[in-house]
């Protein structure tokens, strides 16, 4: 196993990751994060030293058993409460920029 994966991080990968999570970065941020991510991932690479042969990955199990509530009808949040935090709204709906195609916001 390579112990130098941290060095596989470069500015192109930083920009790619940032776009995947829809994060606009300045060029200065790209340069800083590139260096910091290399150093942090280089530290994480020590995990490669651990023998995990035959060890299953941990899976979250709620203690006892996951308990589901009864599927009963109950009031949900009132529309005006939900909309009270929406940055843009129109006619009782959340307003969203165009998703497909370009053009005017609608």
């Amino acid at each position: 196993m390579s112990s130098h994966r941290g060095q596989m991080i470069d500015e192109a990968l930083v920009k790619h990751i940032a776009f995947l999570i829809r994060l606009e970065l300045t060029d200065a941020e790209v340069a800083t994060f590139n260096k910091q991510l290399q150093s942090i991932v280089g530290y994480f690479d020590r995990l490669a030293e651990v023998d995990v042969e035959g060890v299953p990955p941990y899976q979250q199990v709620a203690m006892g058993r996951a308990q589901l509530r009864e599927d009963a009808v109950a009031p949900s949040m009132a529309r005006e409460d939900f909309l009270s935090n929406a940055p843009q709204q129109q006619d009782g709906f959340v307003r969203v920029p165009v998703v497909l195609g370009g053009g005017e916001e609608g």
Partner: protein
């Protein structure tokens, strides 16, 4: 008598006997905030009018004699990641600067029902990402013992507030030390309950498989009172546990620890620990032994990998959890007009998140991405299994583990901000409890150069009653927890 400096236990007795009113107590806390918070900066929002209304209601309840709880009339503050109806809840982030929830977190509604009085919302590292409270988008909180030092993080505002009398207790949230570390740095008591013991409904999620809500108080007794009020199954959180909530204070009366088996994990006293911190914790262990506890060394061999396990899983889950901040349904939206949706996402998130949040969600996306998933995220989950086995083996032979909270006392503001890896490494003694699935109580156990030192009492899953009893016996026979900074 300084009302703001009282414990819950003492204040509750005075309220019930009619010697003080909740309005007077709440006003004393509000006055204390006005006097010292300009220097400490623990609060993001103070709700003075609402607090005095709640105090008036609590006084009415006290006068008619019920229903009363140990928290009726007690003023408290809460970390700004817990939803409060009608009160801004920011996570100390620009992206939520103007977000006003329309519902209460379950823990907040339980405290309301108990009659506690909410005085305000406390500063934190943005979305809980930090160990010093310097990552707040608004301002850094200062340590009440030394204003040029950090209060610890991420619940730094909560710990600083309790230490300096700006609330008789606080609710914090611990994802990887975020209650225990600031408790230690500020000289207060902090409990990270077992995951699932306290419901998370209404908590703005950082890491859904680690996050634990818990109290910051002056002593273990008060922590037990608060835990008793907030713990227990909630139908709105399927991970909350149905195990009955015991009367935590009923087992906390003793000063002796005869027959209690305590383990000292050798890896927690390894390289890098400040000699003064080690000395204080070892002195405390000798003290516990003198109270009758059996002490032995144990080994948690995967401790050295706890930081990697913790940060890989944290960043992966956080990158998913923070995807909800899209500038559409709530929160910041940039620019307001005339862009397509991808542009809206890019600008909203680029402008709304601070540097540590950006760093971590990029790390998490990297750890989850094709080509790296097996080597990072999946491997971290495998080593997490080993880490949990370490704790399980230790708890076959001991009832609790004693360890330092942090390898150092509170560090200087600015000392680690430019080196995120060094900041992460300061969490070495606290992070394992969260992926490890255990509970842990931090209590003050000494001072080094005028700064508080903290000790962890780590217990098995659902072992809160046990660690609180050990903490109570220690505090019944020591006075570190009674020291207060900025006292007149």
């Amino acid at each position: 008598m300084d009302l703001h400096a009282l414990t819950i236990r003492k204040a509750s007795a005075l309220l019930r006997s009619g010697e003080i009113t909740s309005v007077a107590l709440t006003q004393a806390v509000l006055d204390r905030i006005a006097a010292v918070d300009p220097a400490i900066k623990a609060y993001v929002t103070v709700c003075e009018d609402a607090a005095l209304q709640e105090a008036t209601a609590a006084d009415a309840r006290l006068q008619r004699g019920g229903p009363l709880t140990p928290l009726t009339g007690i003023p408290y503050g809460v970390k700004d990641c817990l939803s409060t109806t009608g009160v801004r809840t920011t996570c100390s982030s620009r992206i939520l600067e103007n977000y006003v929830p329309r519902y209460d977190a379950t823990v907040i509604s339980r405290l309301r029902e108990a009659g506690a009085v909410l005085v305000g919302k406390q500063n934190m590292d943005e979305f809980g990402m930090g160990s010093s409270c310097e990552n707040s988008a608004f301002f850094a909180t200062r340590n009440p013992w030394a204003f040029d030092r950090v209060p610890g993080g991420s619940s730094g505002g909560s710990a600083a507030a309790v230490a300096s009398g700006m609330g008789l207790f606080a609710l914090g949230e611990d994802t990887g030390g975020s209650i225990r570390m600031p408790a230690s740095f500020c000289g207060v008591t902090g409990l990270k309950p077992t995951y699932g013991r306290v419901p998370r409904y209404g908590l703005l999620a950082l890491v859904s498989s680690f996050d634990s809500i818990g109290p910051l108080t002056h002593d273990a007794w008060d922590a037990a009172l608060v835990l008793g009020a907030i713990a227990g199954r909630d139908p709105r959180d399927s991970t909350s546990v149905g195990v009955p909530v015991p009367g935590y204070t009923s087992t906390m009366t003793g000063e002796r620890l005869d027959g209690v088996r305590l383990g000292v994990p050798i890896e927690y006293f390894a390289k890098g620990i400040d000699p003064a911190v080690e000395c204080a914790v070892r002195t405390a262990i000798t003290h516990l032994e003198a109270l009758g506890a059996e002490v032995r060394e144990v080994s948690l061999p995967h401790t050295e990998h706890a930081i990697s396990i913790y940060y890989l899983i944290l960043t992966a889950e956080a990158s998913s959890n923070l995807a909800r901040f899209d500038g559409v349904r709530f929160g910041l939206s940039e620019p307001p007009e005339g862009v397509d949706i991808v542009e809206r996402y890019l600008k909203t998130r680029g402008k709304g998140f601070g540097p540590e949040v950006k760093r971590r969600i990029m790390l998490g996306t990297f750890a989850l991405s094709a080509g790296y998933y097996d080597a990072y995220y999946l491997r971290a989950q495998r080593v997490r299994t080993l880490l949990r086995q370490d704790f399980a083996h230790a708890f076959e032979v001991v009832d609790a583990l004693i360890a330092p909270v942090s390898p150092t006392c509170a560090f200087k503001i600015g000392e680690k901000v430019d080196d995120p890896l060094q900041m992460y490494l300061s969490d070495i003694h606290v992070v394992a409890a969260n992926p490890g699935g255990v509970c842990s109580l931090a209590v003050p156990c000494g001072f080094a150069e005028g700064l508080p030192v903290g000790m962890q009492i780590i217990g098995p899953p659902m072992g809160e009653a046990g660690v609180l009893s050990v903490g109570a016996a220690y505090q019944a026979t020591t006075d570190w927890h009674t020291r207060r900074p900025m006292a007149e």
